[in-house]
Each structure stands twice: as C-alpha cells, then as structure tokens.
Subunit: 710 residues, 2 copies
C-alpha cells in the first residue's frame, strides 16, 4: 500500500491548479491561491473557476481540462456536491495528486461516507493520490518547492520539523504556535478524513526524507496500527516521533468518533504501542512543542544528570524539584568544578547544584559557569535560568549562553522568566536553536523526554526467540473447540495447551466423584487444592469454589461436600460435576500473564501481579507480540509492584528469568494461534525456586462464533 | 504573636522614607523611590541619603532622624553593614514599620544570621514590625494607599488577589505574569528571610481584609506549620488559598535550605496539611495563575458536570480528554437542550457534548449555545473553545461569551487558540473577568481545582470525638519506659497501651520456654501464631520469626524449635528468649495504622494497606491529629487499595466503621501522649465481622533520649 514516490505529486509538485479559486476575497479557494503565490511556489499555479477569466490578476480557466499545461497537483475547494465530478475531471486531465479541502463527507454521516468512498474509487482507479477531504492543506518549505497550499494565517519559518495533523483547526493553531516559538518546519500535512493518504503514508514518505529530522503528529485514530508499529519502530531509531493522541477517555472517544468516524479504542493499547516504538507521547499540544524545541535543535543527552544554573534562588528550586520529580539526577558538583566556577562568581554564590550565581550575576559569569559545567564530565545536560534583575541585560545573557555552548555536545535548555525585556532574549535564544521556556518545569519535562528517547535509541532489541513447543498438540485442542463451536476451552484443555508450550503447570487431575478425587489426591500427594471446574463456574474466587491447603483425606472429604453443595446451588443440577485436584503450589507470590488479541491491533501480552491486586491497583503492563527477551524483561521490571517479586524485607527474588521466558513463550503462542482472543494465566504462583513456580489457573477464550461465556 | 493591626504601618502607611535613595539611576533605592512616586502614594515620601540634598527632584534628608514629619514606614536599601545602624536610627525616630530590601543575611551563612538576629532584637525591643531582609518589597493597590515600595518593573492592575512570595526573583516574574494576564492584585508582599513578618502574619492580616478575595503564596518553608494550619483552615472557608510549595524533593530541598536556611521537610507532610486546610496546591507558578484566573473572577461550580462548546473538533476532543482524565463529567446533553441549541446552529453540528458548532460558527451561535447550556440544569460549568477560522471575528466571539454569561452563576472558562487576532480577544475576555487560556488542558485543570475547593468548602467537619479510655494505664507504661530510658516499648507494653485505648487486640500471651508456650496455646486454643519477641527482634518478617496457622501441639513444638534456633543465630545467646503466642486472626485482609509525630508539625495519623504492600505501593494517606469522624472516613476511602477493603469479586466489605473509629482513637492517643514519636499497627487483620478484626502486631517508639533501636 505504501508508495512514497507517488506522494511527490502532492508534496513536491511541479505545477498546481486551485479548483474553486474565486474572485471573492476571503473565500477559501481564493485564500489558498493567494498563499501559493505568496509562498513563491516554484512552478505555475493555475486558478480554475467556472466563470471568472482571471483571479487575483492571474488568468483563470473554466475547468481543469482547459488548463494548457500538465498539472501535478489539484487543490479542490468547491462545494461538496461538485467534488466527485471535479475529481473525475482531474483524472481525465491526468492530474496526479489531489488535496480536497472541502468538508461534509464521512465526518457528517452515512451520505457523506458514501460520497467519500465514490471519490476514493475514482482516485484509486486512476492511480492518483489524495490528501483529505476535510483538511486544511499541505506546506512544504523546501526551497526547491515552496508550497503553501493551505489557508492558515501564519506560516512558520523553514526548518526540520515534519508535522501531520488529523485536525484542521489544530493545524492552524499549531502553525501559529510554531511560528511564535521560532520552530522551523519542513513539511506540514493536514490529513483530514484520511480517505487515501493517512498518517502511515506520510511517515513512510518522511522515513528517508533528509529535510525532516523531527516528526510531530496529532492523531485521533489509527487506521492500520500494525503497519504503524513497524514503520515507527524503524523511523524512531533515526528521528524522534512526538505524538499527541487524543480521544483518550470516554467522552474524548465519543467526540473523536462523532468527529472523524474513528472507532473508540482504549488508551492502554496506545501506551503499549508508543512505548514499544520509542515514540514520545506528549499529553498536550503545548508539551509537544516544548519537546520539539529540545529535540529539533539540541543533541541527545548521554545520561540523566542535570546542572541548573540560575541567578535566582526560587526558580532554581522549582527547576530542581521538577527534575527530581521526573527522575532526573541533580548531582552535587565536585569541589574542582565549583572552584573553577568560583573564579568568576560572587563570593556568596552557592555552587553545589543548582548553581545560584545570585541576582547581580553578569552575562560573563553566566557564560563562564555554563562552560565549566558543560566541560565537566559530571553532568549530561544543563538548564540555564535567568530572571532579569535591575542590572544585567537579558539579550547579552542569551548571547553568552550561546557562546558557552560552542563546541559542546550536551543539550542546554533556557528558561528566561519574566516579560519585560525577556521576550526578545527568548526569541534570540530560539533563533539560535536553544530551547527557551517561560517556566522551568517545561525545560525539565523536555529533558526527561530527551533522556527517555536517547535510552530507547541505545537499546538493543534482539529478534524474538522461538522455543521448541508441541504446536500440533495445541492446534488439535483449538480445532476441536472450534469444530464444537465452543468459544471457551475447558479447564483441562487450557492446561494442556500451556503444557504443550512448555509452561510449568501445577499437577492437576480431574475427578467427577469422591473416589476419583480421593485417588487423584493420593497420587498427587498432600497438601492439595480442590476446585470446581466447568463452563458454569467462571468466577471461582467469588463462588469460594477454590479450597487450598487441604492437609489430609478427612479434610478433603469435608471440602468436597462443601463444594458439591455450591455446585448444586450454582447450576441447579447435581450431575455432570467436575472437580480439579491440584498440587498445592509452594510459592508465596502471584503474578498474572495474559493475551489480549485486538483484531485491529493484533495480539498483546499482559503482565501484572496476580490475584485481586491486578483488579484493584490496575498494575498491569501490555506489549505487542512478538516480544524480544529485552521487552519481556522490561515488562517484568516495569510494573509498580515489581519490588514484591524482587523481594522485600530480605525475602529472595522470585525466579524472574522464568517469568521473562514465560512471557516470550506466551508471545509465541499468541502469534501461532490468532484464534485465541483472550488468555488469562492467573494466578501463576511464583517462588525463588523454579520447581515451585506453578501455574494454577488459566482461562482461554477463542475468537470464534458468538460468545456466550464472556 | 499575630498582630494584624501593627502591620498597617507597613502595608497601609501614611508616610514613607526611602533610606538609601540615591541619585544614581538604576540603584535599587532610587528605583524604589521613583516607583513610590509613580504609584502616586497617598502621603509624603522622604528620600534619605547621607550627602545628596535632593533625589529625583525631591528634597532629601541626611538621616531618618532629620526627616521633619513622623514616618510610618522606612524602606531600607543601604549596604548590608549599615543596616543595623539604620534600623536603630529608625527606632529612635519613632518609625513603626520597616521593609529591609538589602540582602546578605541569614541566606549567606552564620555571620549574616547573627547580624539578622541583632536587627530583629532592635525591631522587637521597639515594637516595630519588619518585612525582610532580602526581599523585594510591598505593593498595596488600595486607592487610599497606592503603595508600590518595590523595584519590580511591572505592576499589575488593581484587583482582589493577595500575593505573598518567599522568593524575590519569582516575585518579579509573578508580578509581570499577573500584569500580562490582566489579573488584578490587591497586595503583594515579598517576605524574604521572614525574620519578623512571615507568611502566617500576612495570612492573618488578610483574614478580615475585604480587599483580598483570593490568596496566592509561593513558599519554600513553614516557620510555624501548626499555626498555619489553624489560620488556613479558617480562612479557606471564606477565601481560596493557592500555594506553590517548592523544595519538594531531595535536590529541591537542598537548594531551598542553602537559599533561605530553611530545614528540609518531606513533602508528604505538606500534602496532608494542604488537603486538611482546603488549600489548593499548584504544581507550578503557571498553574497557580491558571487557578487564580478562575477563582478570582468566576463563581464556584456546584458540581463537576462540564459542557464544552467549540468551533473545532480537535481542540474539543483535547478538552474532553483533559476533563475526563481529571474526573470531571461530560454529560451528554438532553434532546431538549440540543434542540434548543440547534435553533441557531448548523444542521451538521454535533451537539451531544462537546457541542461542536463547526468552523463557520458565528458569534451569535456561540452566544446562543452558551446561554442554552448555562440555563440548563444539566451542567455546572462550561468551557468555550474558539479557533479563529477565516470568517468569524474573535473579538466579537469574546463579547458574545460575556453576554451569554449575564445573569448566570456558573463558571465559564475561555480557551481561544491560535495567535493572530486572538491575543486581543484573550485580553478582552480577561478584562471582563473571564479566564482565558491558550490551551484547553489549563481550563480543565482550573475547573477541577475549583470543583475540589467548592466541595471542601461545603464539607461539614464535626469536632473530634473523645472516647472513654484508660489514660492512666497508658501513662504508667510510657512513664516507666521513659524512667528506664527506653525509647521503644516492649511488645506486651505496646499491646497493653492499645488495649487501654480500646483497640481490638489478638489474644496474646508471653512464653519464655516450651511449657509456658504450650500452656498459652492450650488456653488460647488452636490454631495459634508463634512469634519471637524482644528488642533484638525488629524485622520479624525478614527473620521469618513469625509462624502462622499452627494447628496442633506437635506442630507448635516443631515451630518452637525452629524459632529458637533463629533466636540463637540472631542474638548469639540462648537465654532470655521471649515468644508471643497469639490467637490466629480469622480475617483475610490487612491494614496498617500509624502515628508519626514531627516535633514541628505535631502528630500525624497514617492509614494504608498492611503487610509489605504499604512498602511497595506506598499506598498510605496521612492526616494531622485531631481527626474528625469525616476526616477518618475520608482517609479510609482515599487509599488506592480501598477497593480491597470494600471487597472485590463479591467478597463483602471489611468492618469499615471499626477502622474509622480506630483512626479516631489513634488520634486521641497521639494527642494524649506527645511522647509517642512513632507508632505502627501493622498488620491489623480485618474482616467483615467485627469480632474477627484483630491487631496482631504493634511497635511504639518514644521521643525520649537517644534512640538505639530505630
């Protein structure tokens, strides 16, 4: 599907027609035509209008077919009901690319969706490409191109940021914001309804485009998440991708789907996806720009040690607080470095870190302190805070910061607080590529994002291991259940399935009556666990259908009687009862492992603390299959309750390598059997000794048919 | 100590002298003198300079004593080493209030601290009051006063905000920011080193000052937290207090203490304190202003239901996301309300909530939709988002918003995105008292803070209950331990202490040898628990010194032997061993209750899940004693793991009223015995049945002497 070459007709056209360019000032087609001329597009722009003979002093044509020269790109801003016909004419005229500005398609309901699909058919049939409909256009600042086919009032300066937005209105805001922050943009694409060209196409186009070094995306939905993951994993290794994904929550999702017709999806999928692709997720548009300022212009930090240089105590403390809250280190500077800084600092200045040069600090003192810090090997990045006192000129301080950075490969963030006289120094810093923020917290957050991204980039991800398993045995179980139209595997089938894939299972026998149960317990050896089993028995804990630590036969009989009564109460029948007799697992900690297979996103693997804890604390981590060993290991360590597994109060760690391996085996199982819709291993009883780590319960649901058991 | 009256000499003086006013332009004394004249201070301002006969064209005096008229306030901006003498002269001249701008005192070390103390002695001896040293002055915009005794470049307009800052540099920034946001300020006090006038004095002054309706504080330390709590609890009922407390984390605290000499304190104390006083904690200065914009001008919401009105889908989704993430509700508007809005909205507009009026929405459509929403009883607040399209004039939309709000008592937040043409409409909104933000997330956060504050204000807090307890018995135990210079109570003493205060304790006997233990177990009845006890045995879990669920005498003897060996290994001796034999508590869930008595802050009560969970998840809540029934109840419900206590998977709730009562009893114990430095009840085994709720372990440490056991 991806075909970067074909997008040149839209992103780097040699000639453009604006269909719907009108003489009425303020009309969107007219505005776009003017913008194209203003941006000094490198090629001819033809206005097309049914009656006007010229538009904005340029000869106009009654239809695209009347345009005498070949046209790469047609920008369409006509009434909705005319669009289909115009697209057909474009196809006939040999136009290669379309930008459809007009709205009123999929986003307004069924009729619009139909019309959009008809247009798309024409586009596909003629090998054209189309951005939109319902979009605000495309900008390419490449001097060979100079394309501004939008109606945005503000255009940012030329630079290395590629920005793609699913919302037109935010596009306007974003372009203005970028201009205000002096951020340089290479390309801007408003993808609107994504009928043809979607975020993935743009990503693919930018993959090898040297003019784009940092990618920003505002997205409300993902059409092909699995393709996105592959693309993003590759691109993130070379260029940072910063995303604002909205429609996170319930109402947000409701609005998103009424807005673009996108399906509501849960946010946890996105978090897993972004984590796994090295994507930097920004919570707000503001934060996206804060991050972009840092990533577009500064080198990546080699570690998380930060120095703060300030001429004011309070803001220095705020910055220090923000850094530490975000897990950045603020090492105390060594006596040597402090002595070096002291040579050009006030005697009372406190230099430990934050380096507080005091209110009277000159620009030269700033330059000297920053140089010393950047040259030392004690920190990986610096934040420079300046609050204008009566004496020092902020512009001079901005120059000093810039001079001190010469020859250094460490990132520096500026935070110039206050308004009077500071605005111009912030501009000065930004023009020199030094990120400048109004508040110290933004600088700290950006550094944190840069540290995370640098760490992700330096990680090696090995190819997923394939374990030797008994796949045919597992296949047989699944096929049998599907043949019998069962969407849930029976308990013993689920255990067999796991055993076939090499998971450690607690020894488990089925018993249907007292003699069978008694014999099973004798074979397994006391203490044992007794459980009710069967399709009727879903929430075992709620029903108190699990009896643990049964010490002897007498106790077993007691529990058998009790469970039998529960079974009768629950099912209303007294035959066809099934019990599981299980060895009593010796471990004292519990985890859960799971598969969740979303048809659009593919299979995800879950890991968390077991039992009821996962429900109450929601302490679960998800990652997409396939899992490399590194990702599996990261999963185990990244739950909040990891400390419990590693051991508290002197307790030894559980067998973490076994858990890591089990996650990888689960990943293999999920990929081998896409029929598995959901799998829950809960609890997996774990212990320091591998032989005591046992899965005691598992539930497997299949994708098939209608599910009565969910 | 508090004496609001005496502060009038500084905050509302009738005459001012500036000592250190010089002819050199840009000198701080000179700048302050000019600012006083510029602000048109309502009274005479006398420049004092040793040699100049006039300053800035005003007759100058060689010393304060030479000033012919009585002087209420002297602003001192002379060299540090001259300050003490100047203060003495002020005292002799009958000056009532001082603002000492000069720095170089406590904040730079021991010598400075000494000098500051000498100055303070003079101030106290002559019943003067002093703001500073090391501060940037005071502003009072009361038209009867018109005092600007600062060197800040920007002064905000007159209004109802009182602002107190412990950092001079942030003061400058803050005043500029307030001016930029059109926030009206009533008073601004830079308290610097707080030698005399501290935050509490200012709070007390504002308590009954009708010109101050919203209080903002930037603080790095609290001198008298208990006094602060009393003041804030009272004032918060009438006026919101918004605080940025910095120095939260390790480095932050290090910087704070090198900055103002304040002691590092842990952040959890502050969170508890602020929660309990209804204080609105802002994480950043930016957030403080966002909150202030809402609270200074808008009514408090009666609930948490929000409507979003927008002309752009994307920003509407971002706002909806932000609201829901913060726990605000976005109810779907009823068909009636939607039909009403529809009368003046585009046919394709999606009105469910967010109300998306589409890009072409006119100012009249905005006005109409906002009116409908505010008049309905379906929401408590509204966020209006406007992104400038090509057609509609943002200024007109700002007017429409303002008109729609007439007669409504619901808060409305504006979010006008973009830059071109929007800046002036933001100003317009702000001038009309409508908070206007650049990004929707800030509007949502502010509404959340307003909802929380409104809820706090409407809460009734009953007086703490006093339970009937055996205080003399507890006193005897404490006194005996102190007499014996023990800082830790013995296990049985600790249990007795709790029993005297009416806590449910698991039946517990001491045994020193096998026959004693055997007999104890027989008396208690099996199953029992066996534990090692004694001062040498601190971390029982680590040592595996607790054996539970012992079913019979044979098992008891086995465990006795095992524990005895552990005791020998641990202590290196084989005599003087002590065991606890305890009934086996029947509950299946665990909580912890505790006292932490900070000498400066007073006693705090802690509540959390018991066992190792509290360590790993840090799921604990703290509140200061005394606890009302409402606060105790709130504690129990506010831990993240509360669901476990309330019951998951059909399990019944544990006896929550008992926990709430126990917290109140603990509060009583903490206040009765300030000698208790730390108390840990962990675990308290709990169950749905009160008779099965039992405390099985407790540790009590006293404040006394040197602690060898901590």
């Amino acid at each position: 599907m991806l075909n970067a070459e074909s997008l040149n007709a839209i992103f780097r056209p040699r000639s453009v027609a604006v269909i719907g360019a009108s003489r009425r000032e303020g009309a969107i087609g007219r505005v776009i035509f003017e913008k194209l001329l203003e941006s000094d597009f490198n090629g001819p722009v033809f206005p097309v209008h049914p009656t006007a003979t010229y538009v904005h002093s340029v000869k106009a044509y009654p239809s695209i077919k009347a345009v005498p020269d070949p046209v790469d790109l047609a920008v369409i801003a006509v009434k909705r009901d005319l669009v289909l016909n115009v697209v057909k004419e474009c196809a006939e005229a040999g136009v290669k690319g379309l930008i459809v500005i007009t709205a009123g398609f999929r986003e307004v309901g069924e009729e619009g969706r139909k019309l959009e699909n008809e247009i798309l058919e024409v586009v596909r049939a003629h090998n054209m490409r189309m951005v939109g409909p319902n979009c605000m256009g495309v900008i390419c600042t490449d001097p060979q191109v100079n394309l501004n086919a939008t109606f945005a009032p503000a255009v940012p300066r030329r630079g290395h940021i590629g920005f793609v937005s699913q919302s037109g209105a935010l596009g306007v805001t974003i372009l203005e914001h970028a201009a205000k922050l002096n951020l340089g943009v290479s390309m801007f694409i408003s993808i609107g309804n994504k009928a043809d060209v979607a975020g993935n196409d743009v990503l693919d186009y930018w993959r090898n485009d040297p003019s784009v070094e940092v990618i920003l995306m505002y997205l409300e939905s993902f059409g092909r998440p699995q393709q996105f993951i592959r693309l993003a994993q590759d691109i993130s290794r070379k260029k940072p991708i910063i995303i604002v994904k909205s429609g996170r929550t319930k109402s947000g999702a409701r609005a998103a789907s009424s807005h673009t017709g996108a399906l509501a999806e849960t946010d946890v999928l996105y978090d897993a996806m972004f984590q796994q692709c090295g994507i930097i997720r920004a919570d707000t548009i503001e934060e996206m720009f804060d991050f972009a300022m840092g990533l577009a212009n500064q080198p990546l930090p080699r570690g998380n040690r930060v120095a703060i240089i300030t001429n004011a105590g309070g803001p220095g403390i705020l910055a220090a607080d923000a850094c530490e809250n975000l897990g950045l280190q603020l090492p105390r500077l060594s006596d040597e470095v402090q002595a070096k800084i002291r040579k050009q600092a006030a005697a009372e200045a406190s230099l430990g870190n934050p380096v507080d040069l005091l209110a009277a600090a000159t620009e030269e003192e700033f330059r000297h302190a920053l140089s010393c810090v950047l040259q030392s090997d004690e920190v990986d990045a610096a934040i420079v805070i300046f609050v204008p006192p009566v004496v020092t000129d902020p512009i001079k301080v901005a120059h000093s910061v810039s001079r001190a950075m010469e020859g250094s490969d460490k990132p520096v963030m500026g935070c110039f607080m206050g308004v009077k006289g500071v605005a111009s120094s912030i501009q000065e810093l930004q023009r020199r590529g030094i990120p400048a923020y109004e508040f110290p917290e933004s600088a700290a957050k950006t550094l944190r994002a840069m540290v995370d991204y640098a760490q992700w980039r330096s990680k090696t991800i090995s190819p997923p291991v394939r374990f030797q398993v008994d796949r045919p045995a597992a296949a047989e179980i699944v096929e049998k259940a599907i043949a019998q139209k069962r969407s849930r595997l029976l308990d013993h089938e689920a255990f067999q399935m796991l055993r076939a894939y090499g998971f450690p299972i607690a020894e488990t026998r089925i018993g249907r009556n007292w003699p069978e149960i008694r014999d099973a317990a004798r074979e397994i050896g006391y203490p044992v666990v007794l459980k009710l089993s069967g399709e009727d028995i879903l929430h075992k804990t709620e029903l108190q259908a699990v009896r643990v630590n049964i010490q002897d036969e007498q106790a077993l009989q007691r529990e058998f009687d009790a469970l039998y009564r529960i079974f009768e109460n629950q099912t209303g029948r007294s035959d066809d009862v099934r019990f599981l007799v299980q060895e009593m697992a010796a471990g004292n900690r519990e985890v859960m492992l799971g598969i969740h297979h979303n048809p659009k996103f593919g299979p995800m693997i879950a890991f968390g603390l077991g039992g009821v804890w996962v429900e109450v604390f929601r302490d679960v981590v998800f990652r997409f299959a396939p899992l490399s060993a590194e990702i599996a290991e990261e999963m185990v360590h990244s739950i909040r309750g990891a400390g419990i597994l590693k051991g508290v109060r002197g307790e030894p760690s559980v067998d973490l390598p076994l858990l890591i391996e089990s996650l990888q085996r689960l990943s293999q199982l999920a990929l081998d059997f896409p029929q598995i819709r959901e799998l829950d291993i809960n609890p997996f009883i774990v212990s320091p000794a591998r032989e005591h780590c046992k899965i005691v319960d598992v539930r497997i649901l299949l994708q098939s048919a209608t599910d009565k058991n969910v």
